[in-house]
Each structure stands twice: as structure tokens, then as C-alpha cells.
């Protein structure tokens, strides 16, 4: 079980109404899960909890068997660095780093992912370039370029390469395709799938766009799962 949530209730502070209440939710290893959630459905809160930025007030969020609420904030940061790849909606890249440097970024913060990346390629840069090639960012000229000159689609593929660098077990993508054209969304997702399959990662893909739903193994409608109700949600 990669993710195991039970009896979760999250409030911003003591006494405030719960913004996210999930009785139970499980994700098995290697699964491609689509979480359907409009903004305000508690989506951001759920992702923060999964990434270990915030912790559950009551109940438990287990990722890879580790109850995150039992870890201190530094340990959770380490945990995220070691096990989770994260893709934002847009503007995923550090503007002052090159494409390759951006992809290698997780290895600066996680020795585990660094070792795993080195196990696959002779050095970090080779591995970064390999991932970029797999994600159709083949042109070597692109690799040294300033990331601000890339198109949105190219930026998202670099972000995906970075999230996959060092083979984390869990990939979280927060509406990564919302800034892409309709026909490029599907190809981007297929690329993600093939890469996740290769490293055996579990993919959690959050989007409000139901048209992508059919591509995934399974769908969770957050609005239905979250018993706090949409109108209560803060974010």
C-alpha cells in the first residue's frame, strides 16, 4: 500500500471547522490514480498532507507505510525529498538554473535519490539527459538553455523529468496539464505513464478536467470522498 488514509480530519487551527475529512482512502503500488477535484474541494490540503508539508489533526496519513503525522517537520522534508516527485500546475522550474540543473535538483536534497540516479546512469547529468530524452526533450541544445525560454509544454516535461529523477516511489502531479493544449495533454500523460511504469512509481494525478479520467486505472472524486463538503473548504 503506497497511500493509506483513515479517519482523517484536517483543520487549519484548533476549533476551526474541518476542511478535509476522509474516512478511508487507499492507493496500491504502481497504480495510476486520477483524483477529480474542483478548486475548493480540499485538493490542495490533501496534496499538502500527502507531501508531508502539513499533518493531519486527527486520523492518519500513511505513505509507504510511514505515518507522516508521527514525523517531525525536518523528517517529513527528508521523507518528501527521498520518496516523492512533485509536479506543479505551471512555472515548475527554478528560473536561474539550466534545464539539466533543474532536473538534477532533487539530488541536491536527497542522498537516496542521488544514489538511485547514479545507479541508472554513469553520472547525474547523464541520467538527467536520459530522462529528458525519454520525455521528448531530445535536442541537446535545449538542455543548456535558460528555462525561461522554453514553451509551457517543454517546461512541464522538464518538471516531469525532475519529478522522476532518482526514481521516487510516488509521483504527485497537481493539474500539470491545465496549461497545455488539449491534444498535448494526453501525450504528456502517456509519457508520464511510461516513465512511471519504468521505475515502478505510483502516480497521483489531480485535475478538475474529467476528460482525462478515462486514461487512468481508477478515479476518486474528492468532492464525494471529502465529507467536510465543498462549501466548507478554505483553499
Amino acid at each position: 500500500m503506497v497511500i493509506d488514509i483513515h479517519d482523517l480530519a484536517f483543520r487549519w487551527h484548533e476549533g476551526a471547522p474541518s476542511v478535509l475529512t476522509i474516512e478511508a482512502m487507499q492507493v496500491t503500488a504502481g497504480e495510476y490514480l486520477f483524483i477529480k477535484g474542483a478548486s475548493g474541494s480540499g485538493k490542495s490540503t490533501l496534496l499538502s498532507l500527502l507531501a508531508g508539508v502539513t499533518t493531519a489533526g486527527t486520523g492518519s496519513v500513511r505513505v509507504m507505510g510511514q505515518a507522516l503525522e508521527r514525523l517531525g517537520s525536518v523528517q517529513r522534508d527528508h521523507f518528501r525529498a527521498d520518496h516523492i516527485g512533485y509536479i506543479f500546475q505551471m512555472f515548475n522550474l527554478i528560473p536561474y538554473l539550466s534545464v539539466v540543473d533543474n532536473v538534477m535538483l532533487p539530488c541536491r536534497f536527497s542522498a537516496r535519490r542521488r544514489d538511485k540516479a547514479l545507479a541508472r546512469g554513469k553520472d547525474l547529468e547523464t541520467e538527467a539527459r536520459r530522462l529528458l530524452r525519454h520525455l521528448d526533450m531530445d535536442h541537446p541544445e535545449l538542455h543548456g538553455r535558460s528555462v525561461t525560454t522554453l514553451s509551457v509544454g517543454q517546461q512541464q516535461r522538464v518538471a516531469a523529468a525532475r519529478a522522476l529523477m532518482g526514481s521516487p516511489e510516488l509521483l504527485i502531479a497537481d493539474e500539470p496539464t491545465s496549461s497545455l493544449d488539449a491534444d498535448r495533454r494526453e501525450s504528456f500523460i502517456r509519457l508520464l505513464f511510461s516513465e512511471c511504469r519504468e521505475v515502478g512509481a505510483t502516480l497521483i494525478f489531480v485535475s478538475h478536467d474529467a476528460s482525462l479520467e478515462h486514461l487512468f486505472d481508477r478515479t476518486i472524486d474528492l468532492a464525494a470522498v471529502n465529507r467536510s463538503g465543498q462549501d466548507m473548504a478554505a483553499v
Binding site: 536561474y96 536534497f109 525532475r162
Partner: protein
């Protein structure tokens, strides 16, 4: 470390604003260390207004007063020394050389100093530098005068110009020695010492212009012409003070005691270096004020950095969230901004020092000729090191403010990107 290479790349990405910040810190550092350098050089230069002389001897008085009228030509002697006493002291076995000085007259606001040509050989200033005659020669004839650089410049004198000496310090007096005019035969190079403002004549000349004078006024009915005077015995009866060089520094206190206890006359012997630093302590308050002002300029420079870093934080919140998503802890974010502040300060200090040495190299000859302060260009003094360490420390302290704010922001924002 990983975070510092990130900080470095981040600064490179914003190299224009980063450069401006570095330059403003650099300029303030140049000012701070430059002021400190000038301050110590001015102090050394002042302490060496008169060097090479072991003892100054005059009528009994306080050391600062004696120093003021013998070296700085400020104020007047309370009393004179008899020529006999001077010669006896000069004959002391430990005395290597002596230069008699006779003061009391002036020329258009500049003091006239009667001495021997030994003065030009023995007078030393600023780390053992000798007086140099820029034009002309030393006085040889009775009515020859050698003038300091400032006298020549202010009054526009050339070699061969006539000079009339006035009795007393102020030239408004009706008492002028206009019957015995002098001729400029030499002009000294600028020294940055009171020598620049002095008219030098021979001891005999001082005697000569006073042969027909008594109690500060011409003797009524007596007039001895300049030419008649030449035939007279012009050995001085009294002098104002004298400079002494000793055969060995070890004997300084022995000779000083000998002079201070001289039975025939009440005399004072002072060590010029000691008296000069006593005097500097009195007038050196301004230098501290200057240093404090330049320290504040550094604070202003660092505040410029604070502003730049703080204003950049809001647009960098996305960057912080990205870093957090790849596993950076809020501590890393703190270190990132701190690293930037550190680089800015460090490069500011380095550039500032480079600028300072460049200015020193370029300015050294100018400062020397204009102010007579000779600036030695060597490494940083321990005190300058302390100043620089303080600047870097203050840079980190100031950098702590945006770093802490970035830390708090990244803690609050987490992975959510708020722009």
C-alpha cells in the same frame, strides 16, 4: 555546499541588481577603510612632523607649549636660552649634533626662523625624509632667505624677490625691519609640515636686523645700515630653542635630565615624538568623527542590500515552493538567502578593497604633493582586518532579516504557490 551554489546561481541570474548592491557595499567599504588608512597615515605623518630629533630644548615650559612654538610656530616662547648655555649643551659628549632656532619675527603672517644651515641637513619629517630645496639654494649671504612651499605659493615669490621682515608675529605692526631687506634664494618642496609656512634665515641675520633695536622697538636716533652691520660681530646672545640629536637613543633620558637640571638656566628638554602624540590626542577627535560617519555609510550600504533582498522575496515565493517540493527544508531556504547576502557582502568587501588600493596607487603622489602625507601602500593592518570582519558580520546580521522572512514564508506557504 548545494545551497550555496544555488545562491550563487540565483545571484548570477540577477546580476544587474546584485552588481549594484555589491558596488554600493564596495564604495562604503572603500570609504571606511580609506578613512581609516588616511587617519593612521595622518597620525603617523603628524607624529613625524619632526623626526630624527631626539630632544627639543627651550626655556622652561610645558612640553606641548614648547612643541607648539618650536615646531608649529604657534604662540611665543616665554623666555630665551642664552647662547652660552646652548653651546655648553651642544658640547655634551652624548650630543651628536644641534640646530639652534631663533623665532620672533614674521613676514606677512609667516613666521621667520633664524637657524644655521645644519637645519637643512638635520631636520627630518615623515619617516626620515629630508628637506629638499626645489629651486635655488640654501642661505649663504647674511640677507638670504629660504622660504617654505606655502609661503612661495601664497605670496607668489620667486627666486630673487625681496622680503621685508616685520618685528613680532603680526604684520600690521609699524615695526618693520625695512632697512634690511632679504632676498629669496631658495624655495623648499612641500612637506606638509609647518616648514612650508616658514621663512628661514641665518641666525646672524636675526641678530643683524636687531642691532639697532631694543625692547622690541628701534633705538631712537640710532640707525645702522645693512652694509655697516656686515662688519659687526653677529654672534647671537640668545636663541629661542634648539634641536638636538644624540649619539645614542639610550642616552636620551640621561641628557634630558642633564638639561632639565641645568644649573645656570631654567630649561626644558622634551622628546618630540611623545609631545606630538600628546598634542594629537587633543586635536585627534575629528578623526574619530570621520570614522564614525564612514561606518554609518557602510550601514547605509548594507541597508541597500536588505531592501534589494526583501523586495525580491515576494516574487520568489514560487521559487521557494518549488524548492520545498524537491525536498528543501525551510532551513535550506534560510541558508539560500543568507548565502546570497553573504556573497553580496563578501564581493562588496573584496571589490571595495580592490578599489581602495587602486585609489591609493593613483592618489599617492597627489596626496603627497598636496598635503605632504606620504601614504605607504602595504597590506591590511590588524585594525583594518577587524573593520572588514565587522562589515562582513554586519552583512550576515542584516542578511538574517530577509532570510528569516523567507524561512517564515516558506514554512507558511509549503507547496502552495501564492503570487
Amino acid at each position: 555546499m548545494a545551497t550555496f551554489s544555488l545562491a550563487w546561481k540565483s545571484l548570477l541570474n540577477r546580476r544587474f541588481t546584485a552588481m549594484l548592491t555589491v558596488v554600493s557595499i564596495a564604495l562604503s567599504v572603500t570609504l571606511l577603510v580609506g578613512v581609516e588608512r588616511l587617519r593612521t597615515e595622518a597620525r603617523t605623518s603628524f607624529a613625524n612632523t619632526l623626526s630624527g630629533t631626539d630632544l627639543i630644548v627651550g626655556a622652561r615650559s610645558g612640553p606641548v607649549q614648547l612643541l607648539l612654538y618650536t615646531v608649529f610656530r604657534i604662540g611665543d616662547a616665554t623666555n630665551n636660552i642664552s647662547w652660552k648655555s646652548y653651546q655648553e649643551i651642544a658640547a655634551h659628549p652624548k650630543v651628536a649634533w644641534s640646530v639652534p632656532i631663533s623665532l620672533g619675527d614674521s613676514h606677512r603672517g609667516f613666521r621667520v626662523l633664524g637657524t644655521t644651515t645644519a637645519y637643512f641637513d638635520r631636520y627630518r619629517y615623515a619617516r626620515d625624509r629630508q628637506l629638499v630645496i626645489a629651486q635655488g639654494q640654501r642661505f649663504a649671504d647674511l640677507y638670504d632667505a629660504v622660504i617654505g612651499a606655502e609661503v612661495a605659493e601664497k605670496l607668489g615669490y620667486k627666486i630673487g624677490d625681496p622680503i621685508v621682515v616685520a618685528h613680532g608675529a603680526s604684520d600690521v605692526s609699524f615695526a618693520r625691519h625695512d632697512d634690511k631687506p632679504f632676498r629669496v634664494v631658495g624655495i623648499l618642496t612641500r612637506t606638509g609640515t609647518p616648514v612650508d609656512r616658514t621663512v628661514h634665515v641665518s641666525l646672524e641675520a636675526i641678530e643683524a636686523i636687531h642691532v639697532d633695536w631694543q625692547s622690541g622697538a628701534p633705538i631712537p636716533g640710532v640707525s645702522i645700515s645693512a652694509e655697516q652691520t656686515r662688519a659687526m660681530d653677529l654672534t647671537p646672545k640668545v636663541i629661542t630653542a634648539a634641536l638636538f640629536g644624540l649619539k645614542s637613543k639610550v642616552a636620551t633620558f640621561q641628557v634630558q635630565r642633564f638639561i632639565n637640571e641645568y644649573p645656570q638656566e631654567a630649561l626644558s628638554a622634551i622628546l618630540p615624538g611623545v609631545a606630538l602624540s600628546q598634542l594629537w590626542d587633543l586635536i585627534g577627535i575629528a578623526e574619530n568623527a570621520l570614522l564614525i560617519v564612514s561606518a554609518f555609510v557602510v550601514v547605509v550600504g548594507l541597508f541597500g542590500m536588505l531592501t534589494t533582498l526583501l523586495t525580491s522575496l515576494n516574487e520568489r515565493r514560487r521559487e521557494m515552493a518549488i524548492l520545498r517540493s524537491v525536498g528543501a527544508r525551510p532551513g535550506h531556504v534560510f541558508a539560500l538567502i543568507m548565502g546570497e547576502a553573504g556573497f553580496l557582502t563578501l564581493f562588496g568587501v573584496l571589490l571595495g578593497l580592490a578599489l581602495l588600493y587602486l585609489l591609493l596607487l593613483a592618489g599617492q603622489p597627489i596626496i603627497e604633493s598636496r598635503f605632504g602625507i606620504f601614504i605607504t601602500i602595504d597590506g591590511l593592518s590588524p585594525y583594518e582586518w577587524i573593520l572588514l570582519v565587522a562589515v562582513v558580520g554586519a552583512g550576515f546580521l542584516v542578511g538574517g532579516i530577509p532570510s528569516y522572512r523567507a524561512y517564515k514564508l516558506s514554512l507558511a506557504d509549503g507547496l502552495s504557490v501564492r503570487v
